[in-house]
Amino acid sequence: MTGGFALTCRQLRVTFGSAVAVDGVDLTVREGEIFGLLGPNGAGKTTTLRAITSLLPVPPGHIQVFGHDVARAPMAVRRAIGYVPQLLSAEGSLTARQNVALFARLYDVPRRRRRAAVTAALAAVGLTEVADRPAATFSGGMVRRLELAQALVSAPRLLVLDEPTIGLDPVARAGMWDRITAIRRETGMTVLMTTHYLAEAQQWCDRVALMSGGQIRVVGRPEELVATHGVADLDEVFRAHAGDRAADGQDEPGSIRDVRAARRTASRLG
């Protein structure tokens, strides 16, 4: 029924007032792959993810997740998705275990399996030792891993990560990628993520789509894109397609608010 596709977007368009954030995006993500949605700030990546995860209203016929139309069957889509938003959003006053257990309950992980599922998710992200400490005492990298555990505890078929490594130091970033690839290897789940670190995408993603100005400019395997363009890395591929748009920093609606909010979250989490 799904034809091997975890996600299909057809002519997705999202506007905020007169501003066009996403402008006719066509996208397919195959089951089991790590797919990277790349582009500068304001390219429309986050807005695309918000439409896919049912946070933005989209008319029927544009987005299907494992064969379920987001507009017609949002609950079925939500059941299939594990989502890590861009901001550090763990509950600082709850322990790591409480944070993950909440999401196990919200996804109906049966009571008899819940404790084991929570323990396994925390172990998968390397937080077993600190499972009973409040998240407020965690570093940014640990909070990110905790959020990954929250998204994993329901065994989602599609893991959606919005800038999973933003704001992390290089060691924490590499750690995050190790976890993501190990989890994919173990479970076979599909991963859709956004990032603006092109080097990371080149190293870790099976396929990438370069986005700019609300449109997808080019899609393919990173090494193929580099080879067919006859350049050294994805950076240069991107420059060839997006030109100066990559640098002009068009802001997404709400981006200033988001940055401020991120700072507030950082201070709340300590």
Binding site: P57, L94, L102, D108
Partner: protein
């Protein structure tokens, strides 16, 4: 990695999940969110202590001062007796009305979006917050009653009356918490929300029977106070706790009706807040 992660079953999204009827799902989600709110509340006891000071001031200063003023027709009650249910309702209102700001805070932190991507009915997200407001409101209610005891208020301590009073506080908390979330869904920014919360608290509190009998008010204000859900909460609590005459049937009907409307409206506006 000692224990393996569960791989997603291929039929997970289609049929592999436990299927429950919508009511059971709603109850389960409300329970899960309420548990998390309860765990959060247990971490900040100081906040509860600080919140308890305000009713002390209302009863101790305002009550003491106005009880010297002759001519407030309290129906034979002492003025402190008369305003105790009003001050209790007010402290519940002041706590609940801040939950719109809490919701905006959750939105700004990315938490609301994360919860809204889970298969959870929007009404459960709203009721989970209302639960937290109710727990805080109830702790404050206990404090108000204890202060009243110290000030010599003749509270009726019958267990069934207290149980009914708990019900009134829960409905009141839910109503104002949802009113606040609903306004948050309309104005969407923290700054506007803070201003509006303070703005609506004044008419809700003063255009009611909390501090004086409605009969004392000018005619237009009497009409306004009849449309104020707080009036019916105070009326019920005054009857239950102090033994004043109360129209319980009307009070319960209004409180339940308003609660249902508020929960539905807040749930409907929640996606607008997360957008």
């Amino acid at each position: 990695m000692s224990e393996p992660l569960a791989a997603p079953p291929p039929d997970w999204a289609e049929a592999g999940r436990p299927r429950r009827n919508p009511v059971a799902t709603l109850v389960a989600r409300v329970a899960a969110l309420s548990l998390a709110e309860w765990q959060k509340l247990r971490r900040d006891r100081w906040e509860q202590v600080i919140r308890a000071i305000q009713p002390l001031l209302w009863l101790g200063i305002f009550g003491a001062a106005l009880s010297r003023l002759p001519g407030i027709p309290t129906g034979g009650l002492s003025y402190v007796d008369f305003i105790l249910p009003g001050v209790l309702t007010q402290s519940v209102l002041f706590i609940a009305i801040l939950y719109g700001v809490h919701m905006i805070w959750d939105r700004d932190a990315g938490l609301l979006a994360k919860l809204m991507v889970t298969p959870t009915p929007r009404s459960a997200l709203v009721i989970g917050k209302a639960f937290a407001a109710a727990v805080r409101g109830l702790t404050n209610a206990v404090v108000v009653l204890l202060i009243g005891q110290v000030l010599g208020v003749s509270v009726q301590w019958h267990p069934l009356r207290l149980l009914a009073a708990v019900g009134v506080v829960v409905l009141g908390s839910t109503t104002f918490c949802c009113l606040s979330i609903l306004i948050a869904g309309l104005v969407r920014t923290r700054e506007r929300m803070m201003g509006l919360s303070q703005l609506i608290m004044v008419p809700l509190f003063f255009a009611s029977n909390a501090l004086y009998p409605i009969a004392m008010l000018p005619a237009w204000l009497q009409v306004a106070s009849r449309f104020n859900p707080l009036t019916y909460q105070v009326d019920a609590l005054r009857g239950l706790l102090i033994g004043a005459p109360a129209d319980y049937a009307l009070d319960v009907a209004v409180m339940v009706g308003v609660t249902v409307v508020m929960v539905s409206a807040a749930a409907a506006l929640l996606p607008r807040l997360a957008r």
